[in-house]
């Protein structure tokens, strides 16, 4: 399994990392983001992350036992999927739905394709896409960040009984005493009311949204650390972000009142998290350098197009899934032509 994956490392790293080391580094990089999510949304976010991670690991263990191929939990990839999935869900998402998402993500998104290394798309996003389609209301129910009682009580929807509809959070939010809560994330406010949240708030993460997507700054720092460690291809997040910013720029220049600024596009919603931690999924992204760039720009541009012109508020999930689907094709297009060692070396330079 270790030999089956080709890993291109940054030049400054001399030794090749193995799958387990890379996966563990990714987990470490996500821990600060998890901590911020818990600090921001309280106990519900903690339970949500624990549930998705637990369910993902349990599903992985079950499928690897069914397959009889030894225990694949030890490669940490299921943990990553679980944490990532938790970070992309609204903090008050019912735990049973979160468990369904983790099961579908690992089961349908990964195990049925043959396990780690064979999945076509990012398992965490498969899980999220499934619950987005299955429970469209619950996944767009947002709760305020920094609720005063977040460490003593749960968001009421968190503990919804399995298969039951989550109750409305309107009354609960009204009782919180949070001022000027509109029930909308910065993205939705921009899309429907054309009100742009102040740049610093979205950059630092002082806004509402999915559990782990709010702080662009923190995600950036953690992502850069991973890139420095050589655990992800820096080209992918860089080109995703560049693609998104460049696509948003002309619209913003034409009508700044209607369209969001490139800066807002980068810092709002799940784009930052997705660019660093999901688009860069080693299995589901193209392996050639130019392929990685095409793939990243494609995802970034598509995200902005869905956000601006689609029916959905956030488009990065579908953009990445489509990018994943196009990944093998992009890889095939951008294969360096190998005629001999000399030309190969030139193609790489």
């Amino acid at each position: 399994m270790v030999k089956g994956i080709e890993i291109r490392t940054s030049p400054h790293l001399k030794r090749a990392l193995n799958v387990q080391q890379i996966m563990r580094s990714v987990v470490y990089a996500m821990l600060p983001i998890c901590a911020f999510a818990i600090w921001q949304f309280g106990l519900s976010a903690a339970l949500l992350l624990a549930t998705t991670t637990g369910a993902a690991v349990a599903t992985e263990a079950w499928f690897s036992r069914l397959r009889g191929a030894g225990n694949t939990v030890a490669d940490w990839s299921a943990v990553i999927t679980g944490i990532l999935l938790g970070l992309t869900l609204p903090p008050g998402f019912p735990l049973w739905m979160a468990a369904v998402a983790a099961f579908v993500g690992i089961g349908l998104g990964k195990a049925l394709f043959g396990g780690l290394g064979y999945n076509v798309m990012n398992p965490a996003l498969i899980g999220r896409a499934f619950v987005q389609a299955a429970f469209p209301v619950a996944i767009t129910t947002w709760t305020p960040a920094f609720a005063p009682s977040r460490f003593v009580e749960l968001i009421p929807t968190t503990l919804t009984a399995p298969f039951m509809r989550p109750e409305s959070v309107t009354d609960w939010i009204a009782g919180l005493g949070v001022d000027s809560w509109t029930g909308a994330t910065p993205l939705a406010m921009q899309k429907f009311q054309h009100i742009e949240t102040p740049a610093w708030d979205t950059f630092a993460g002082l806004v509402s949204g999915s559990a782990g997507e709010t702080s662009a700054l923190l995600i950036l720092v953690c992502g850069l650390w991973l890139a420095w460690r050589g655990c992800l291809d820096w080209r992918i997040p860089a080109s995703v972000l560049a693609g998104a910013a460049l696509t948003a720029l002309p619209f913003w220049l034409v009508d700044p009142g209607l369209y969001p600024s490139p800066w807002f596009v980068l810092c709002s919603g799940g784009l930052m998290l997705a660019a660093w931690f999901m688009a860069s999924d080693m299995v589901a992204s193209p392996v050639t350098p130019w392929g990685a760039i095409i793939y990243g720009v494609f995802i970034g541009a598509l995200t902005v197009i869905i956000r601006l012109f689609g029916g959905l508020v956030e488009g990065v999930m579908y953009a990445i899934l489509l990018g994943n689907a196009a990944g093998p094709l992009i890889s095939a297009w951008t294969q360096p032509r190998v005629y001999g060692a000399v030309k190969k070396a030139r193609a790489k330079s």
Partner: protein, 220 residues
């Protein structure tokens, strides 16, 4: 199953039963996917579609079998299609007469039975060579297999997607419907899940037959 039906097949239980399992049109032959995926969003739609298809199968099979000695090879496909279309039209009127709501729910898929490959396949492969009674029995078996398969999909999709079965609420008012299940992707998910289950059972059976003593512990 090895001998070719050069001679007329004798009527046996297998004539009927193999349509249910060994030659199940949906789960084994993977035929007729269009109605299978499209109208299996509720149990009642699924069963209605299954019964309508069964009627067309039986009616066209019987007529083709009865006329098999008079249909020249060159015009057989044209003849089969005309006969199948006849029964589809009859079913179309019959469903309108039974329930307009059902007719609206099934939509264009009633007329599309005419291009369901199960039916032309049966006509070509069985009815055109076999006597009337075995053809009728075999068509009913295949139709029953199709109906069961559609019901298997439709019931799962309706239970998860609406919390009901045949319109009866199963879980009370608080149930959270899995919207995706009544949408087209749900059809693919549930069909995939059933195929997985059936193939798993089949493989397990084969493995048992191969190695009756030492089943690996991890095969579970």
């Amino acid at each position: 199953m090895a001998e070719l039906p050069k001679h007329q097949e004798d009527l046996s239980l297998d004539t009927f039963v193999r349509g249910l399992w060994k030659e199940n049109p949906v789960f084994v032959m993977l035929l007729g996917m269009c109605p299978t995926l499209a109208v299996s969003n509720s149990a009642i739609n699924a069963i209605s579609m299954g019964l309508a298809t069964t009627f067309v199968l039986a009616g066209s099979g019987a007529l083709i079998s009865g006329l098999r000695n008079w249909i020249p090879k060159q015009v057989r496909i044209a003849s089969y299609i005309v006969i199948i279309a006849t029964f589809v039209t009859i079913v179309d009127y019959a469903i309108q007469a039974i329930s307009l709501d059902l007719y609206a729910a099934l939509g264009a898929f009633i007329q599309l039975i005419v291009v369901n490959c199960i039916i032309l396949g049966r006509a070509e492969a069985y009815a055109s060579q076999q006597r009337l009674v075995p053809t009728l029995v075999n068509s009913l078996g295949i139709g029953a297999g199709f109906t069961i398969a559609l019901f298997a999909l439709g019931s799962v999709r309706e239970i998860l997607g609406s919390g009901t079965l045949f319109g009866l609420h199963l879980f009370g008012a608080g149930f959270q419907p899995w919207v995706v299940m009544v949408l087209p992707p749900g059809g693919f998910f549930v069909l995939g899940a059933w195929l997985l289950l059936f193939n798993w059972i089949k493989q397990r059976g084969e493995r048992r037959a191969d190695a009756p003593t030492g089943v690996p512990a991890n095969a579970r």
